[in-house]
């Protein structure tokens, strides 16, 4: 029995080893129109995006930003490779729209200063 298993294992490993070195591993496929356009329009040194890596990166970040796990895949499905990579690279560095009330507070202070130095004239109605 053990001998039989060993033979089977050796056969499986042999097949696996063979396929590693065979041309079957190279996945040749047709090139999409967008890849052609991007290559023609942009600098030649721009590498093609690894979609698998960019997807994993973007997925993790979207979940961190509170996107429901069930929706993440559907959201990523609509992005092209280069959009996906831009998203993955910039999600956390993008300017934060964040807390609008705080922002308005800052603007209010700026307005007050502008008012005080006479640049604008909008608070005069109030005593």
């Amino acid at each position: 029995m053990i001998g039989l298993l060993r033979t089977l294992l050796v056969q499986i490993l042999a097949v696996a080893l063979l396929s590693v070195g065979s041309p079957l591993v190279v996945q040749a496929e047709v090139i999409g129109t967008l890849a052609g356009l991007e290559s023609a329009q942009r600098n030649a040194d721009l590498a093609r995006v690894n979609r698998v890596l960019a997807t994993a990166d973007a997925r993790a970040q979207l979940q961190e930003l509170g996107v429901d796990q069930a929706q993440v895949e559907a959201r990523l499905a609509g992005l092209t490779d280069s959009e996906l990579s831009t998203l993955a690279d910039n999600l956390e560095h993008a300017p934060a729209g964040g807390d609008v009330l705080a922002v308005i507070g800052v603007v209010f202070v700026v307005l007050l200063i502008l008012e005080a130095v006479g640049v604008i004239d909008i608070f005069k109605k109030f005593p």
Binding site: T33, A35, A44, T80, P95, G97
Partner: protein, 325 residues
């Protein structure tokens, strides 16, 4: 690189009034900029979805989707484009959501007359604005639905206001600070006003890239009618045929692409792939070699090399197969 601004929010009426009063000082356009443009236009049929807190992205997107005939309510779109952690939506996600509804997402040229031309042609324009200043940005999405050249004003569906009238100068300062980003969302058979070949074909190719083949095919067909001398729409049609499994149509399409542009690397590569699969090995090799020479040093080099390897391992078919010259 496209900037990822996590847009939005803002019940901004107070700010807008505070920051500039209401004097509309009409901007002067050079006559050629507004040539052929009607002095006024307003798309009154465009629906209005008042935004909920922070959710101007879903509301603005629903507005342009509906007026292009696609489905989508702000509530549905929240799940697709709203980022809770950023309290806003990213441009690229708005684009993706429209694409998944089979719409061509065309970025308008970054000048006001071009934006007005879209409105005059019947397409509302989704715009990004920065209502704050560079240092303290307040990102916002709105939809331009009308304009009046004489008074120098625009009409926008914005936030909770169905018909916000805004001076063009004021609008320009908010639009400038958002890199003048504007988007029209089109049914695939429809061309935008003053359509630019490269941008339109890129939008169609993005549909192809995310697997929306019917929409991509219709957009390519329209583009091929509009620009019959360009190889790209022809290449797109061939690629759509290939992805649908119609290799015969694809082969014809790649040959037609090469007739328009003998140096199209994608057509050479894909033709090599098809020809080697059906046993036309010597023709496949010559296309693969041509593709390799053209792709040298570009982003496509590795993909083309993989094809060459695949072709090198192919075996010739019986003499019964008819191969192209």
């Amino acid at each position: 690189m496209r900037r990822l601004a996590p847009a939005c929010a803002v019940p901004a009426s107070i700010l807008l009034i505070a920051l500039g009063g209401c004097s509309f000082n009409p901007p002067r356009f050079a006559p050629e900029e507004t040539a052929g443009l009607p002095p006024q236009a307003e798309l009154t049929q465009v629906p209005f979805f008042p935004q909920k807190q922070y959710q101007c992205g879903p509301a603005a997107l629903a507005t342009v989707l509906r007026s292009s005939g696609a489905a989508g309510s702000p509530d549905e779109l929240v799940n697709e484009v709203y980022l809770p952690g950023r309290k806003g939506s990213l441009q690229v996600e708005l684009v993706a959501a429209a694409r998944m509804r089979d719409r061509v997402t065309y970025e308008v040229s970054r000048d006001l007359p071009s934006l007005l031309r879209q409105v005059a042609a019947g397409s509302p324009v989704l715009v990004m604005q920065n209502l704050g200043v560079q240092l303290i940005p307040i990102w916002h999405y709105a939809v331009v639905v009308g304009y009046d050249l004489d008074t120098g004003t625009l009409v926008l569906r914005s936030g909770t206001t169905e018909r916000r009238v805004m001076g063009m100068r004021r609008f320009m300062s908010t639009w400038n600070r958002a890199q003048r980003w504007g988007l029209v969302v089109l049914e695939p058979g429809q061309l935008p006003a003053s359509a630019q070949l490269d941008r339109y074909v890129a939008a169609a190719a993005a549909l192809e890239a995310v697997g929306r083949l019917d929409a991509a095919g219709r957009a390519y067909t329209r583009a091929h009618e509009q620009w019959p001398d360009s190889a790209w729409p022809q290449l797109g049609l061939a690629n759509v045929s290939y992805r649908r499994g119609d290799r015969q149509a694809a082969e014809g399409g790649y040959l037609a692409t090469l007739a328009l542009d003998p140096g199209n690397v994608v057509a050479h590569n894909n033709l090599a792939e098809i020809l080697s699969d059906r046993g036309c090995v010597s023709q496949a090799r010559s296309h693969a070699e041509r593709a390799a020479a053209l792709a040298k040093g570009t982003a496509l080099e590795a993909a083309v090399a993989a094809t060459a390897q695949h072709v090198a391992g192919a075996t010739a078919a019986d003499s019964g197969v008819s191969c192209p010259p």
